[in-house]
Symmetry: C2
Subunit: 411 residues, 2 copies
């Protein structure tokens, strides 16, 4: 009885689905200040030049640069002081030949000034005159109009994940609202005759459902909205009904399968019953996580995640996380956080599949980062609680060696 | 006129403050399912063994292992089938000598069974008998009671940042609520005569306040609650009043200083007026970000961040981010996300200070990650918008070389 058909390489798994997915799940308009982590739904174009006026980058004196040419400590340029341009005010002072006006960092230059002499490079003679102790070139110590951004520039491409500095950049142009993708809704159905909700009494032979909650948290981290839908027994009709409701309300459907083989097979049957094309991938060449199911119905992706915690996290990263970003219109999926560390022990594996091993990170005596494999059973959640991340053994390797530098996916 | 006194090395800056800080800002009790990213306020101890019963890790037959000793393909062990233990049910079947009961992955073993023979290693003879084609050792294919966690084990230490798998681990034990630190409140005061709110009309010589919003977003990323307090001119009384209100309502106070030197000096004067000890550090040996002020009043940390965007982000990472985690009771501050890349160009610097240079990341033709320095002025926000992260030139280096592998702090 062959359990799996159409087993795909992990790299190919999400790609198999991608062409069938919608480009986006729709648009929200939100306050720019609240847009952290959201994905831009259109190119954002600058409505103006930034800065809008030439600004001094120093405290000092705005000058006509040619009046300082040749100036030095030994032969300073004498300049008449004709006032100042206070911070936050328009320049009323206008410079004639041989004149200067006090300037502040970030402030406007006097009219007809084209450079600023730093205060440390000047000598105050009296209230009406200074000496410039060195020459400045045109534009020196000045941020020019439009030097940061020009009117009409695309400042953020459609599909960008908005970061703190992007919020600053957008607001600097006076754009107080932005069109972003709606957050994809991820419906989660936990299946298995053995499961009870975490707050309920646990009868003999039963365990608490936890995958609903780890998957919800992973969904939130990826910018989706988790919608825990149901905890259902291994019963075709009950699962199908939960799934149909989920498909109507969500953009992505995730099954967390029960641990037995029959429970996993049932997930595939349910997915096939939801619409065309149904199951498109059944099995991925990874360990743990092989019995993963990928399907599609109503143009919505459906994932059957193996029930054990390590598999669920690995497969979430491989499939659900990219799907959330993709449906949010972000086509260049951000890399999850990683760090580099030296393996403390050999990790045996088998060529032809990717292996994922939880690791704990330690600092060695010389300060280097060391990854200690945690060889727990993948059906033990505390294997992950006691780990800092997961190391992948690539497809073409039959193991990794102690001392090797590896990328650790941090969780 | 020496602008700075007590200039500290960046490593020492937060450490100078730490002994004066409160250990925590108080406790919330939240639903475990909603605790992602929160910091545990006490050790969490397991109230029970996990799993609570011995579970099969395979679909197959639970057996008394000694009944299989010596079994092989050539000489199988004959076993009478006495029933099954359905998923999610207590074991009613009890094994006598030479008996077996059907077992499911994750299900309970029959009474008096101590191992499981995988279904693939058996042959069904008829409805009442099977042959085991290999021997199993005691405990084989079984997760023992308490193998994941034992009753009384500390499962998460006080001060841990709760991750998706931790939520799963806590809920697996039926703990549906957890004590976590209250999120530290970070009050933000933006100062400068030149600033207007992002939505307001921008008069000549004025610019929009953006640091309030980038600092708010960085605060949220670090697990704090941002409280934008005020946008105030460079006026001692106005700033002092805003700060006093902020101190009453917040756990941390952040000034984003105006860009001129006098504006920065004013911040220090205001901090000194708020209470003892006032300013404790004035200036850090970094570029950009040197004119940073660290103070303390009412036992609350106060930071004066330079107004330019690159400085504000660098100094936030150095001081405000650790302070948020520290006051949330997390003493081992999580490392921010980084990646390794090869520098594309030399970065010149000066020994004796740390330099921070924004970089853009690219993939080279051979797939390696390359960091291209973005040598924009640090007062241009788009220097950061166009960057993927920031590279540090360490204190003891006078620059970094093209081709060198560096850690990029991702933003």
């Amino acid at each position: 009885m062959p359990e799996f058909f159409n087993v795909l390489a992990p790299d190919a798994a999400f790609d198999a689905l991608k062409p069938m997915l919608a480009m986006s799940v729709g648009v929200d308009v939100v306050a720019t200040a609240d847009a952290l982590g959201r994905v831009t739904a259109e190119d954002i174009v600058s409505p103006e030049d930034l800065p809008a006026f030439a600004r001094s980058t120093m405290d000092g004196y705005s000058v006509r640069s040619r009046d300082t040419f040749g100036a030095s400590e030994g032969l300073p340029a004498y300049l008449d002081l004709v006032g100042e341009v206070p911070m936050g005010e328009a320049a009323h002072a206008r410079l004639g030949i041989g004149q200067a006006a006090k300037a502040y960092t970030g402030g406007m230059l006097a009219q007809d000034a084209d450079a600023v002499v730093q205060v440390e490079r000047t000598q105050m003679l009296d209230d009406t005159a200074i000496e410039a102790l060195r020459a400045v070139a045109p534009g020196e110590n000045v941020v020019q109009v439009g030097e940061d951004v020009r009117k009409g520039d695309i400042i953020l491409l459609k599909g960008s994940v908005i970061r703190p500095q992007d919020i600053g950049g957008i607001l600097a142009l006076g754009i107080t609202g932005v069109a972003v993708s709606r957050k994809p809704r991820v419906g989660i159905i936990s299946t298995g005759d053995e499961l009870v909700p975490p707050g309920a009494a646990v009868g003999a032979g039963r365990i608490r459902d936890i995958n609903t909650y780890t998957i919800s948290a992973l969904t939130a981290e990826a910018g989706g909205i988790a919608m825990p839908l149901a905890l259902v027994a291994d019963e075709f009709e009950a699962q199908r009904n939960a799934a149909l409701k989920g498909l109507a309300a969500c953009d992505i459907l995730v099954f967390s399968a029960g641990s037995s083989v029959s429970s996993r097979d049932l997930t595939a049957d349910v997915i096939n019953s939801l619409g065309e094309p149904g199951v498109i991938v059944h099995g991925i060449s990874i360990k743990p996580g092989k019995p993963t199911v990928i399907g599609l119905a109503d143009d919505k992706p459906i994932f059957g995640l193996p029930g054990n915690p390590v598999s669920a996290m690995v497969v979430f990263d491989l499939l659900v996380r990219p799907a959330i970003y993709y449906l949010a219109g972000c086509k260049r999926i951000p890399a999850p956080p990683t760090t580099r560390a030296a393996l403390r022990r050999d990790i045996p594996s088998v060529a032809g599949r990717e292996d994922f091993i939880p690791v704990r990170l330690r600092q060695s005596d010389d300060g280097a980062s060391v990854a200690e494999p945690v060889f727990g059973k993948s059906n033990l959640i505390y294997t992950l609680v006691r780990s800092d991340g997961i190391v992948k053994v690539p497809m073409d390797r039959s193991g990794l060696y102690a001392g090797e530098l590896v990328d650790v996916r941090l969780y």
